[in-house]
């Protein structure tokens, strides 16, 4: 199972913050498709622009930004935690 965490900015769409998804062996991109299926097209429209993730959301797998892993192709395994976190850094 993959544990998924959403930020509060997602709750108007997802209504929940933490879920578990059967996505072992799938990629982050495939996990996104499962989530878009579950929460409808609104989440897809807000998260994706021209096939790419919008710049203001970062996705972390076990605390590592997927940009530094394999992007949307990053593979997931049982027990992984995927967190969506709005970009706020520094200041």
């Amino acid at each position: 199972m993959i544990r998924v965490k959403f930020p509060s900015a997602f709750t108007s769409i997802t209504k929940e913050r933490r879920i578990e998804v059967e996505a072992d062996g799938k990629t982050v991109g495939e996990l996104l498709d499962i989530l878009f299926e579950r929460y409808g097209s609104t989440l897809r429209e807000r998260l994706m622009k021209d096939g790419e993730l919008v710049p203001f959301i970062n996705i972390f797998v076990n605390g590592e930004d997927i940009r530094y892993l394999n992007g949307l192709q990053t593979e997931l395994k049982d027990g992984d935690e995927v967190a969506f976190i709005p970009a706020v850094a520094g200041g």
Partner: protein, 406 residues
């Protein structure tokens, strides 16, 4: 009321005046919407000039409604005409705004004073932040004054003096394995779980960043209500540069200046995303490995990068990316010419300023203001490797004459 609410900087969706930071429509960052009509009716140059010698002389232009701010005296710091440095690098009208003289020795006191005041307004039970060090000390001190517990997340291995300065005020300092970006991600997750805590640069961020606008206000007031031609601003996340730009724009809105034609230039250590994108082209792309001695600007994924780049381009400015060696040389140059010991971020600013003059981006007669955002005593370990050793002698005059005078 001065504050109407918050607005997404990307899609424009509006939100109430509350501790929110991300748009639920496009996940973009939020900013404060002010009631400018209300503010313009109440503020005036004369009122400002009679105000306290701190950022709170500009209270009418800040996003708080309380009459009792959490105030250690941040702002209205030293503003000097730097003729010696100007002569050295070829500028006739160079000014320095020196925030190394703030209560906790960096510009962070400006933003923290506003954010902690806001935390009190929102009735929050604790405050926190992710920090490269300067923010840590400032938040710890302001939290102590506000009688709030504070939780501060820093990357392991930042300068000792910055840690000591925060711990002494009673803050809980959590050293996180990894970089600033790791500490920041963890702090953001914790902020998400604890909405009654005010993380100053996360869920209070829209209010927090407004404190930096006072650097623009002071610049204009101290120049006799005139705008400079160009400014040079150090960049970590890019938030400071964006805030200074908004500050100049605000003054135009309330009629303190006729127009905002200031050119904003950014300074960032070599290899970091914003200066890289502005100088060499391309998008602001995050970098994972931060290879610079300038820890206070070492942010790999700068939240305001896109906006900072846009402002630099829009105002006709440039960005420079000095190397570590150039930065240290600039710290020494400033110290030797003006008697100001700034931290490494200030060195980045001065090194960038020098390059901008050399390549003709800044004209020798331009009125230029450079922002020195922190005190040199915060980062002594690094400088120690680059300065000459002391002269050691026995207490004998012959030895002095032999070793020193000869």
């Amino acid at each position: 009321m001065r504050v109407i609410g918050l607005k997404c900087r990307v899609c424009g969706r509006e939100f109430p005046n509350a501790p929110l930071y991300a748009c639920d429509n496009c996940f973009g960052p939020l900013e404060v919407i002010y009631n400018w009509e209300f503010i313009a009716e109440r503020t005036s140059k004369e009122k400002v000039e009679k105000g306290p010698k701190s950022i709170w002389r500009y209270a009418d232009l800040l996003p708080v409604d309380t009459l009792k701010p959490v105030d250690l005296g941040a702002g209205y710091t030293r503003f000097i005409k730097a003729d010696n440095l100007g002569e050295e690098i070829g500028l006739k009208n160079l000014y320095l705004l020196d925030d190394s003289t703030n209560p906790t020795y960096s510009f962070k006191d400006r933003v923290v004073s506003v954010a902690v005041t806001k935390a009190i307004e929102f009735g929050m039970k604790a405050v926190g932040c992710a920090s490269t060090g300067n923010l840590a000390g400032s938040l710890a001190a302001h939290a102590a004054k506000a009688k709030l517990p504070s939780y501060i997340f820093v990357p392991r291995g930042i300068e000792k003096n910055k840690i000591i300065q925060a711990v002494v005020h009673g803050a809980k300092i959590i050293e996180v394995e990894g970089t600033y970006d790791d500490a920041n991600r963890l702090a953001t997750e914790i902020a998400e779980e604890n909405p009654e805590w005010g993380f100053v640069n996360i869920n209070l961020r829209p209010y927090y960043v407004e404190g930096s606008k006072t650097l623009a206000y002071e610049t204009v007031e101290r120049l006799g209500w005139m705008t400079p031609d160009q400014v040079v601003v150090p960049m970590g996340s890019g938030a400071l540069l964006c805030a200074i730009f908004r500050g100049f724009t605000d003054l135009e809105r309330v009629g303190f200046i006729d127009d905002n034609k200031v050119t904003l230039n950014g300074a960032q250590p070599r290899g970091l995303p914003i200066a890289k994108a502005v100088k060499y082209g391309g998008n602001v792309e995050p970098v994972k490995k931060l290879e610079t001695i300038v820890h206070s600007l070492a942010i790999g994924n700068p939240a305001d990068g896109i906006f900072a780049k846009e402002i630099i381009k829009k105002t006709g400015g440039s960005a420079e990316d000095p190397s570590d060696e150039e930065t240290v040389e600039a710290v020494k140059l400033l110290a030797k010419t003006e008697g100001i010991f700034t931290e490494l971020a200030g060195g980045v600013t001065i090194a960038a300023l020098k390059k901008l003059v050399e390549d003709g981006s800044i004209d020798s007669y331009d009125v230029v203001v450079a922002y020195l955002t922190g005190n040199g005593l915060k980062t002594p370990e690094v400088i120690l490797n680059y300065i000459p050793e002391t002269i050691q002698i026995r207490p004998r005059i012959e030895e002095f004459e032999k070793v020193v005078v000869a």
